[in-house]
Amino acid sequence: MQTSLLSKVTNDKPSHMSDNINHPQLCEWLNAVANSRDKKAFTQLFKFFGPKIHGIARGKFPNEAQASEVVQETMSNVWRKSHLFDKDKGAATTWVYTVMRNVTFDMLRKIKGNKEDNLSDDIWPIAESMVSDDESFDDHLENKQLLTVIEKLPEAQQEVVKGFYFMEMSQEQLAEHLKLPLGTIKSRLRLALAKLKVQLGEDND
């Protein structure tokens, strides 16, 4: 049942990537994700790239779960790093496939590492958490400056769209909604957290 669901995805879409690609549209969606965390644009990107990435990954990994993981990790990184995309430096497809290439290399490295250490399935989560981000930040997309930018994002935005819709608002969306400058929202959040600490401290006394 799972297989049929997933294979349907691949069959529904043309596998020739060069056919009918609307490059300006892809750029627009990436920018919408970068600038306003636009969930609809992200869904469109997912629809476009998901089946393609899955098709390629299926050729590189022996099982369905790993191919799905490549899709998930790649699209997660697209969500997190969309602000790093620069349309003057190359096509959106090139950028996304570069992200995918890095994810694939990381996974292959992880699998190789696991085999060498002869890790059992039981400690898989530990092995997973041991693959830290700095190992993967070794290509032209990343540099220290960009890392700092990512680290400065609130935790919620660093969080990944792991196959779920992101219901929480971004600081930018909240600012827009309340018609206030982003700086005001940031200071209100800081102030609210400080007050909360005091309140909770009082409650505990």
């Binding site: 995805v9 779960a65 609130p154 935790e155 219901m167």
Partner: protein, 190 residues
């Protein structure tokens, strides 16, 4: 329903959901497709709050959700809408062979399950405006009891761009006043 401490499948996600909160999930990992299959024929599942930074071990509570709607998106990915019916304390966790986790849980009471119908204009109005501007969110909630203070504060807590660890301080039943003050200090001008 008679089961005092039910054993339910666990989905670790960075999603903060309080009772009566609804969210949409896209499911395509095989083990979680299996979870959905189990959850839809049995008693729902548990969303265990997990961010990339925090390990699962230090969180002992979760959101017990029912699947209230599902659809296969245009891209073939399964989409489910889930509604939280209560918070639970997780007594123990076991893993099955395919890496799906199951937790033995017991329900805990939360302030968001209570109703206080005093219209408090600013927060309610602002929340209504959020629903009006977000198509998906608006469609998820058939009923929007914005005259219930507890419901309004709970939904705002879910939506606010605040660290998940901070949100988690409001899961205790007696924290309503703190939660209300916290939300107000962000949304309303002091």
């Amino acid at each position: 329903m008679n089961n005092v401490n039910p054993t339910l499948p666990i989905f670790p996600l960075p999603v903060f959901l309080l009772p009566n909160g609804i969210t949409r999930l896209r499911i395509f990992e095989p083990r979680y497709l299996k979870l959905v299959k189990i959850a839809s024929t049995e008693q729902g599942f548990i969303i265990l709050l997990q961010s990339e930074k925090s390990e699962v071990t230090d969180i002992k509570w979760g959101s017990w959700v029912d699947i209230i709607n599902f659809d296969s998106g245009e891209d073939g990915v399964l989409e489910i809408d889930v509604k939280c019916k209560s918070l639970v304390k997780i007594l123990s966790i076991n893993s099955s062979v395919d890496k799906l986790q199951f937790g033995c849980v017991t329900e805990i009471l939360h302030w968001s399950q209570k109703t206080k119908t005093t219209k408090f204009n600013a927060l309610s109005a602002s929340l209504e405006a959020v629903f009006d501007s977000d198509e998906i969110l608006n469609a998820l909630y058939h009923d929007k009891p914005t005259d219930n203070k507890n419901w309004v504060v709970a939904r705002w807590l879910e939506l606010l761009p605040v660290n998940l660890a901070v949100k988690s301080t409001f899961i205790l039943d007696h924290t309503y006043q703190d939660a209300e003050k916290f939300v107000q200090s962000i949304i309303l001008k002091n």
